[in-house]
Amino acid sequence: MKPTTYYPLPSFKAPFFLFLAFSLCITHQAFASPMEDYYMQKRQHMIRLIEQDVHETSQYLDTEALDEKVLKAISTVPRHKFVRPDTIEDAYKNHPLPIGYGQTISQPYIVAIMTDLLKLSTDDKVLEVGTGSGYQAAVLSELVKQVYSIEIITPLGEQAKSRFKTIGYKNITTKIGDGYYGWLEHAPYDAIIVTAAASHIPHALIEQLKAGGRMMIPVGSNFMTQQLLLITKTIDGELQTQQILPVRFVPLTGEH
């Protein structure tokens, strides 16, 4: 049998590959940067609109402006990477978008308000029931230590998981399954956000909320958030709910 001859790489090949890799990087940067700049500009524009809307609604939201950290988180998360390719151009418009399976990615303004109302700290642990596109979890992950997110629809859960991996969110842990019992393993949570449609609020979720913690539930159809329900668990374990209308609209006129 003829012995196999192994030829060493010619010495010029190593610099060549280095050069190729460098060139590819440069080319990628050259193409990627303008696109990233483009989306960054769109994000900044979206942030300005959200700020303006919050300012107009401030009296009704009991806050003059959104927490700077929340705005920074929203301006960091590439929302266009959480939408379907056919809606990518609308990613930074202030309305919800379909993501398939009858679900939507929430309106940025609503995401901002919900996140703000949770009053999060950097050491917090947050549970999200209803991962959806993963956008809300990504925004939360910029603000807290760890986010746990549960999705009931398998393909959506898988998509979100791979998205987090691709973009590089290391402090989001996901699972596919039933959110009714929360995620006991990591409980208690400083905040819980329930974006999945539920006919009632399960006792397990209330149990897994820390004393002094906040739970946020957007109520309405996929495309129309009618109201936000904020549940606060007092230090004594009592529950207080607040129905928040994210709009400057007073139904009563005249004196009462």
């Binding site: 679900q103 006919s199 009632h200 159809s221 996929n222 958030t225 139904p251 009462h256």
Partner: protein, 707 residues
């Protein structure tokens, strides 16, 4: 030209066209929402309008080719009735996004134009017969209208036996049979056998295509969303004109349907099946538990309040649904339960295939299930049996999402009118309660309107102090209003407070309530419910009830039998304010029913101008020089005004009748065909009579002139 018009095929195709129109309403209620019924009528009429223009412009050509054109129109109608529906199924129209997504307007327009095609074709065939046999218009008109009348009734009967998609297949096949008859009637000699074979082949193709066709339900409807969850499947489907019922099981992740549950509830609902009507409005069929204690979660709903005020022995439940209210009553040991369910198929399901699963609740000795409408049921009750119930209960009858986004805005409901409430009160014993539960919305709408309706009903029954006869509580999700014929006593008030305290519900009204008791646990920006209740009961020093209703930004004036639109809350006067808030989601507060109807009206007007009036105008201008055939402009205007007015008046009366007849026939799907067929059949008879009178009259004129 043949001497006899093709009356048999004409009658048959008219019946098919009307049946198709009603079937489309049913199909669209399943794949989209109920309010498309209005759009279907509008686009059918658009098709008829365009056909008038088309046939009048091409009349000489079409008359010459009558024997080919007439069967061709019939053939293409039959094919397009199926093809257009299949195409429409792939148009991703989403009514909720219509305000901010311009694509939705184009989707709606596509649907609109697509469905006007079959109606355009069938109307062209009918028009052509009129045009070709001017001497026999009365007879033709009579056959056309009689056929239409019979068609609209027949489809309802058919829908009791067939699923809507199979009914579509039958309609298309009948259309093809009419085409074969038309071939015979028009006496086509040329290649008759080949043409007939081709038509039969088309029929076979329609059969094959539709045999395995499934309805492509909007992905945003509850049923479609549930089916995305792993482990869910439809285990039973039944169809009737009242709705397509689907029973869904979810093996991996249980349903646990219990809207309005207290936050302090610790018990998980037992295993359930989801019962969907027209792919939405879910109610649960609960597996009957071994131990009644497992139903204790039903005591944690706002609707459980009356059971805590006194012992309930005789109960009437409006709308049995999946049986949750019956289970709630059983948990509270109610000895006699009557329930009235509008949809007989729900009763069949729970008494038949799912009787064991649900613990035979519909077959228990103390449970009496009646099929029909509640108002009819109560009106039939003999006078001496009135005043019999301890409690009449009307729980949530519609889903929150559909209700909150205003998809029912234009639905008539005779269940929640002042007259209906008065009737319920008549059937309570002196200490009995009427309990009505509604969704809590922000800003409040339903509950306040229901409260106003209850105040009016009490005032009409000559109760001088309605404030003493009402209670209102709410959780974060639902509210319950209690109305009592006699004033509430202190013991009942005490029980109410205890009930709310242990469940974390808020009191919004009871006799003697203080303002600082309201809005404590589930907080709104202001104590809206309490403020509304006190204003409506004339307890507010600042506003009269009339002023409050007028000033409130939602339409909360009580619904009556003359204006049975309980779900209508929207005031056009606040539209501009809501539009200005659209970036903050303000448009979520506009009812979608109105928006879709407005968009439909705009489309109808634009399409009518472009497709009906404009071609006629162009034709008129071109033929102006030809004075032999053109009328004067004034003559045209007179003609146009005459037919425009008569058409408008006819439709106004017809639509008003449809709405009024819902009260007597209990559902639009009965009211619409009955009114349609009555109008058609009697207009047809009138037409036949007119032609008879005219021929008698002209004969007499002839005789007079000869003598």
């Amino acid at each position: 030209m043949l001497l006899k018009p093709p009356l048999l095929s004409l009658g048959l195709i008219s019946a098919t066209a009307l049946a198709y129109e009603i079937l489309l309403m049913r199909l669209f209620s399943i794949i989209q929402w109920h309010h498309f019924a209005y759009m279907i009528i509008s686009l059918a009429l658009l098709g008829y309008g365009i056909s008038g223009t088309l046939v009048s412009l091409l009349q000489e050509f079409l008359k010459r080719k009558f024997h080919i054109a007439y069967p061709l129109f019939l053939f293409f109608f039959s094919v397009s009735s199926v093809a257009c529906f299949l195409l429409a199924q792939i148009i991703p129209f989403n009514p909720e996004a219509i305000i901010w997504d311009s694509k939705q307007f184009w989707h709606l327009l596509s649907l609109f134009l697509l469905f006007s095609i079959p109606f355009l074709l069938v109307a062209s065939a009918i028009c052509l017969v009129f045009l070709s046999y001017p001497g026999q218009i009365g007879k033709i008109y009579a056959v056309d209208l009689l056929g239409a009348g019979i068609g609209s009734i027949s489809i309802i009967i058919l829908l009791y036996y067939l699923f809507p998609i199979s009914a579509l297949m039958i309609i298309s096949l009948i259309g093809l049979v009419a085409t074969l008859i038309a071939l015979h009637e028009t006496q086509i000699k040329h290649k008759e056998k080949t043409v007939s074979f081709f038509i039969i082949l088309t029929g076979a193709l329609v059969f094959l295509i539709l045999q395995n066709q499934i309805l492509n339900i909007s992905p945003y409807k509850d049923e479609a969303k549930i089916l995305n969850i792993s482990g869910t499947k439809i285990i039973e489907q039944q169809s009737s004109p009242l709705g397509l019922l689907s029973i869904i099981e979810s093996k991996k992740i249980p349903f646990r349907h219990a809207p309005g549950l207290s936050l302090y509830n610790t018990k998980e609902p037992p295993e359930q099946l989801g019962l969907f009507t027209d792919a939405s409005n879910m109610t649960a069929i609960t597996r009957f538990p071994d131990n009644l204690e497992q139903l204790s979660y039903l005591d944690q709903l706002t609707s459980a309040l009356p059971y805590h005020l006194k012992e309930i022995n005789t109960l009437l439940i409006v709308g049995a649904g999946g049986g949750s209210d019956i289970l709630q009553a059983m948990f509270h040991n109610t000895s006699h339960i009557d329930t009235v369910e509008l949809n007989p198929q729900i009763i069949e399901i729970l008494s038949g295939p799912f009787a064991d699963y649900s613990g035979n609740i519909f077959l228990q000795d103390n449970v009496h299930v009646y099929s029909g409408d509640i108002r009819e049921f109560l009106s039939r009750t003999p006078h001496n049996e009135k005043e019999q119930y301890d409690l009449i209960q009307i729980s949530l009858m519609d889903s929150f999402n559909a209700s909150a986004s205003g998809l029912y805005a234009l639905n008539e409901s005779y269940l929640y009118t002042v007259e209906a409430l008065q009737l319920y009160l008549e059937h309570l014993n002196q200490d009995g309660y009427l309990a009505i539960s509604r969704w809590v919305k922000t800003p409040p709408r339903d509950t306040i309107k229901m409260f106003a309706t209850a105040v009016s009903a009490l005032s009409n029954t000559l109760i001088t102090e309605p404030a003493k006869h009402l209670m209102l509580i709410r959780g974060w999700q639902t509210s319950t209003i209690l109305v009592k014929k006699s004033p509430f006593n202190s013991s009942e008030v005490h029980q109410l407070k205890q009930f709310c305290q242990t469940r974390g519900f808020d009191v919004a009204w009871y006799p003697g309530i203080k303002s600082d008791e309201a809005n404590q646990l589930n907080r709104f920006r202001e104590a809206y419910f309490y403020q509304a209740a006190s204003a409506l009961l004339n307890q507010s020093k600042k506003q009269t009830p009339y002023q409050f209703i007028n000033n409130y930004k939602y339409y909360i004036s009580p619904a009556s039998d003359d204006k049975p639109f309980f779900h209508h809350f929207f005031k056009w006067s606040v539209l501009s304010e809501l539009i200005s808030l659209h970036k903050q989601g303000g448009l979520a507060l506009v009812e979608m029913g109105h928006i879709v109807l407005l968009a439909t009206l705009i489309l109808a007007v634009i399409s009518s101008i472009i497709l009906i009036l404009l071609p006629l105008l162009i034709f008129h201008l071109r033929s102006k020089s030809n004075t032999r055939f053109s009328l004067s402009t004034i003559g045209h205007l007179k003609l146009f005004s005459y037919f425009f007015s008569i058409g408008l008046a006819f439709l106004f009366i017809e639509i008003a009748m449809m709405q009024k007849f819902i009260l007597f026939l209990h559902h639009p799907i009965y009211a619409i065909p009955v009114v349609l067929s009555a109008f058609m059949i009697f207009a047809g008879l009138g037409s036949a009579l007119t032609s008879h009178i005219l021929s008698q009259w002209s004969r007499r004129q002839l005789l007079i002139s000869r003598t």
